[in-house]
Amino acid sequence: MSAETQEDVERFRRRARSWIRANLEPAAAGASAGVLRNNSTDQEELAEVAHERELQRRLFDAGFAGICFPVAYGGRGLTPAHQLAFNEELTGHEYPVRLQAPTFSPCAAVILDFGTEEQKLRHLPAILRGDELWMQFLSEPGGGSDVAGAQTTAVRDGDEWVLNGSKVWTTGAWWSDWGLCLARTNWDVPKHRGLSVFMLPIHQPGVDVHRIEMLNGTKEFCQEFLTDVRVPDADRIGEVDDGWTVGIRWMFHERMLHNSPYVTVPAGDAHAGIGASSVLRVARDSGTLDDPWVQEMVGEARMLQLTTEALQQRLTEGMRSGAMSDQSAAIGRLFSGVVSTRTNTLAFEIAGAGGGAWTDDDAALADCGSDFLMRQVSTIGGGTTEMARNVISERVLGMPRERTLDRNVPFRDVPRGGKS
């Protein structure tokens, strides 16, 4: 759609508002509270996934799915400003939360950037309809931050590739459909030059999905063991051994995550973490709102939230216009991670003894303690803040790169710890 015929943002916003109000339920109370809380059974979880697929389908049918995706692939071909308007109108309503990240960003974004026409037509409309949920097969047990050090191996066999190895930290792989997988296709060249990217169905023989129990009991994260998994060459994305070109954009889309224009999330929502409204609820339910120290802490949480949102807007705008490099996404990743841990600590502090021991009647205080134990998830998941700091200092500020021992040597000769 050309700029001239495009619906203007305010008109779009009004249309979105009336559709949302007529078609979506209010968000469940406390839906965005807590840090990866374990509060539903597997059956309930599967029912929620099914409901979210259906929500996504309704968004698609109403013309509100893939707002920034090209029309040719089922999207609306509109601008990030339209997506932002939609997000603002969505606040306070249910939405398909599990379908957003990593399905829309980074996975669908990577397919859009690097997929062949055929691959895009096959997957993007299906994703926008809620038919395909995607996971990143990226991190490995042998290395989290050193993504390009992947050891999962793909060996060519005629028109197919045979994959072996293990991937980890896939959220909800047990109810997802497809994996975007980074694998090593050449061990005889330096690490960044021997990688390729594949798309594969998760539920197939040879893919063994294990659920990992986190310290708070949640079992959303998974580890996959790949044993002789056969992937057609047609499901390779990007060139053979040039997977890192894809990987760099992949990391970018991963850092954008909930701030990506491809992702639909209510504005002001805290993702996998605690926002200012949760902190306010904890203060209210602990009866401490008239304590000036508590007021300060509640105000700090809100200050951090507003500042994070303002920063993301600035970064998005800067990267879109070219005033900032794509590497600047790391600034948002660092800031929001640190803000999230701080906000979590504020809630725990306000909860007082209720943070250490609570009953089910304690309303917003309940589980503050468990949330606190899981606090670091926001500075680890999605790329650690240490990696973000490396990216900012080296790629944004131009400071000297860290010395590495894995450059310009064949990957098989790179020192590795453990048994491998």
Binding site: L280, R284, Q295, G299, T307, R314, A323, I331, L397
Partner: protein, 379 residues
């Protein structure tokens, strides 16, 4: 500062930047540390010609802005003030000129014209000693007495009070607020200079003891100035915020350059991961500072209902992270960063000053909490 400026705005900003590089170089600022005024009249007049004093004044009263959004234009000047730790009463001049333009342009035409030309200084007497410090209430009393109003109380710190021909004083009348424009020579006013962390900004304590002025010196309504005082406070906060961000940006740039130049153990400081990571944190604070400061400026300028909360968020954020960043810049410089000859303290002074005026981070955090409680109807 906004990422994208129109060519006009860029030209406007650049003109002030060049002027300040020439007239407010670090050596000049150091030289003025014992100057009783902190700046000379010629400097302020030239600045006024560049547009510094007119931005919150209506066109019909001789003011005018570049973009139609005077507060946004003013943040460009303030940002450059921060980058240069520049002298001059930018906040009080803007606030008072804006208030005169709105309420008293007909009666105070001469004063306003002088302020626009940079030849007259009027100061804003709003802040008071705690606990009623201008943010959590006011103690100065303004009483109606026949055809006059009578002022009793103390204002401090008052910027450029000693240089001002007029004082715009806020105070309490019964349950409401009142603002009065008082000639600085009126009987019953006594001033004494205060010490300050800044090298070129000057502050006074101003005591009002049965100070009597005719009632037509009141701006707006007696007892009905609450909203205008609040708006002025938000304007002051927005300008101070932009100044702080500019100072943070300059300090980061300076310190980054130092990290590349300075070698220890045969390596530049910039190559140490421990320092690289701290620079990354500082970069994130500066970008976040620009972002929240600009967003708040926009909301306050538009009179949006979110203005107060965003301005407080920006003030709380910059008040906390501005000095934090500057102190870390000092740390990265080592001992030389604590010397008078080094420039870094000029910027540390400015952000420390701005942190303390118009509400500390802690006060603004509580303001935010009370706004949130207002929204949900909690106590």
């Amino acid at each position: 500062m906004q990422l994208h400026l129109t060519p006009d705005a860029e030209f406007f900003r650049d003109t002030t930047a060049k002027f300040l590089s020439e007239h407010a170089a670090p050596a000049e600022i150091r030289r003025r540390r014992d100057d009783p005024a902190g700046f000379d009249t010629r400097y302020w007049e030239l600045g006024a010609q560049l547009g510094w004093t007119s931005l919150l004044v209506d066109e019909e009263h001789g003011g005018g802005s570049l973009s139609g959004d005077g507060l946004a234009d003013l943040t460009l000047v303030a940002d450059e003030f921060g980058r240069h730790a520049a002298p001059g009463p930018l906040v009080p001049t803007s606030v008072v000129a804006g208030a005169l333009s709105e309420f008293s342009a007909d009666r105070q035409g001469e004063l306003l014209a002088g302020m626009l030309a940079g030849t007259s200084i009027a100061s804003w007497c709003h802040l008071e000693p705690r606990p009623n410090d201008g943010l959590d209430g006011l103690a100065l009393e303004i009483r109606v007495d026949g055809p006059d109003v009578v002022l009793n109380g103390v204002k401090r710190p008052v910027e450029s009070g000693a240089r001002a021909s007029h004082l715009l004083v806020s105070g309490r009348t019964g349950g409401g607020l009142t603002q009065v424009l008082v000639p600085a020579g009126t009987g019953g006013i006594s001033m004494r200079p205060m010490h300050t962390v800044d090298l070129t900004r000057r502050f006074s304590e101003v005591a009002f003891r049965d100070v009597r002025v005719p009632a037509d010196a009141v701006l707006g309504e007696v007892g009905g100035a609450g909203a205008q005082v609040e708006r002025q406070l938000l304007q002051a906060v927005v300008v101070a915020n932009a100044e702080t961000v500019g100072a943070m940006q300059h300090a980061l740039d300076m310190t980054l350059a130092w990290a590349f130049d300075r070698y220890s153990f045969g390596r530049p400081l910039a190559s140490y991961q421990e320092l690289k990571h701290r620079f990354s944190d500082m970069k994130s604070w500066v970008e976040a500072g620009h972002a929240i400061s600009d967003l708040a400026a926009q909301a306050v300028s538009a009179g949006s209902p979110e203005g107060a909360e965003l301005a407080s968020a920006a003030k709380a954020f910059l008040g906390q992270y501005g000095p934090e960043l500057l102190q870390d810049c000092v740390q990265m410089h080592g001992g030389i960063g604590l010397t008078f000859d080094h420039d870094i303290h000029l910027f540390l002074r400015r952000v420390a000053l701005n942190r303390s005026l118009h509400g500390t981070p802690s006060q603004h955090r509580r303001r935010i909490a009370s706004i949130m409680c207002g929204r949900i109807g909690a106590p």
